[in-house]
């Protein structure tokens, strides 16, 4: 038996019929066609499926689509609707914060929430903050640098992001 749910995805309201066992990440990728959200481990370890639900970062492989009823979701496609890179994305590009890119959307969604609560994180807070996101290419250092540089930008410290 299906259930009717209403979600707001990147600002657009969708009313859908879903099977209760449909995972949110499958709804987003397969029903709604937004494939920027990745499926990595499928066991809530790797963070590649991280999206924002009502502003909070969550792993969409471990949430049922029905649990997202009446919530507002943001995926990587929604962070810069005008097609331009936002500051965090630009920072990843400038600091070589990605290599294969598989973890990047989840990383960016997680970082978005963290900076929302803590605009000036320490390196320790950054590393703990992305502890739920695995990257097998960068060794994390360039991601942490991206993050720190972004924090520099928003708190007005001297930025070492090359422009």
């Amino acid at each position: 038996m299906t259930k009717e749910i209403t979600i707001t995805l990147n600002g657009t309201v969708h009313t859908l019929e879903v099977e209760p066992r449909t995972l949110l990440v499958h709804l987003i990728r397969e029903e709604l066609g937004l494939t920027g959200t990745h499926i990595g481990c499928d066991t809530s370890s790797c963070g590649a499926c991280t999206i924002l639900m009502d502003g909070k970062s969550i792993k969409s492989c471990t949430l049922l689509a029905v649990q997202a009823n009446n919530t507002s979701l943001t995926t990587i496609e929604g962070v810069s609707p005008d097609g331009q890179l936002n500051n965090i994305q630009e920072g990843f590009k400038e600091n070589h914060g990605l290599h294969c890119g598989f973890c990047t959307p989840g990383m960016i969604m997680r970082i978005t929430e963290l900076l929302e609560h803590n605009p000036d994180p320490t390196e320790d807070e950054i590393r703990w903050g992305i502890s739920g996101n695995l990257c097998r290419c960068t060794g994390y250092n360039n991601i942490v640098r991206t993050f720190a540089n972004h924090a520099n930008l928003i708190v007005g410290r001297v930025s070492c992001v090359r422009k």
């Binding site: 809530s44 991280t50 949430l63 049922l64 703990w128 502890s131 739920g132």
Partner: protein, 291 residues
Amino acid sequence: MIPSSFEYESPTTIQEALDLLEKYGDEGKILSGGHSLIPMMKLRFASPECLIDINNIPGLSHIVLEGNTVKIGSLVREAEIEHSDLLLRHYPIFADVTKLIADPQVRNRGTIGGNLAHGDAANDHPAVMMALNATIMITNKEGVREVPIDEFFFGFYTTAVQENEILTEIQIPVPPKGTGSAYHKLERKVGDYATAGVAVQLTLDTNGICTEIGIGLTNVNPVPLRAARSEDALRGKKITDETLAEAVQYASEDCNPSADLRGSEEYKRAMVGVLVKRMVHKAAERAIAAL
């Protein structure tokens, strides 16, 4: 991985949820944060006929001080505990434990009630609740019953919560002045279950006597374990190298770890000892600061 088919209900009152539990019996499962249950369903270790989602029931997300008791609703998320001034003021142990539970995204969903009701000795809150002497409030159609934490864990994934009941609140006594608490678990990586974990809360008087102490152990026994002999070795005494050595030895002896990828039985017993020592010291430092 996709779970097998099930019905999904999202009641908006406790009464409605209890009706559904009655209807489905042991085929109905409460869905709270879902970060233990959904992975088990994806692996088909669990395949309930109906999920009863309690997230839309108001009145289960409070953290309040009433008299000399802190009350925590079962739907309170780990991330809310992490940032609760009230909890961190009285129980610094929550800053230690929440940071070590899974990862930030999981803590945004995972709940304290689910962590306890899952009945997994590898979860972190059971040991903490033993150290803090919590009482678990369980609601059924007759009303609310209180279960002391020492009578809550029955066995492997089994707790005092019956088929027709819901864990609705956790109550923790506010400790007296001069109390400190601490938790640490040894883990191989972020989000791992503990190789061993130890929770301690203790109270010191102005003469340095340990007047009260609670010690809980994580993942070194089939059920969450209170290190009762270790507590007795320190209660009413000063914490000295001698009394602490005794407490360390008892905890290592009384736990019952099994060898797995995280280490041998001997190694885990040794780590329990190391952590008891460190956490008693850390809790004592905090107790002195709170005198």
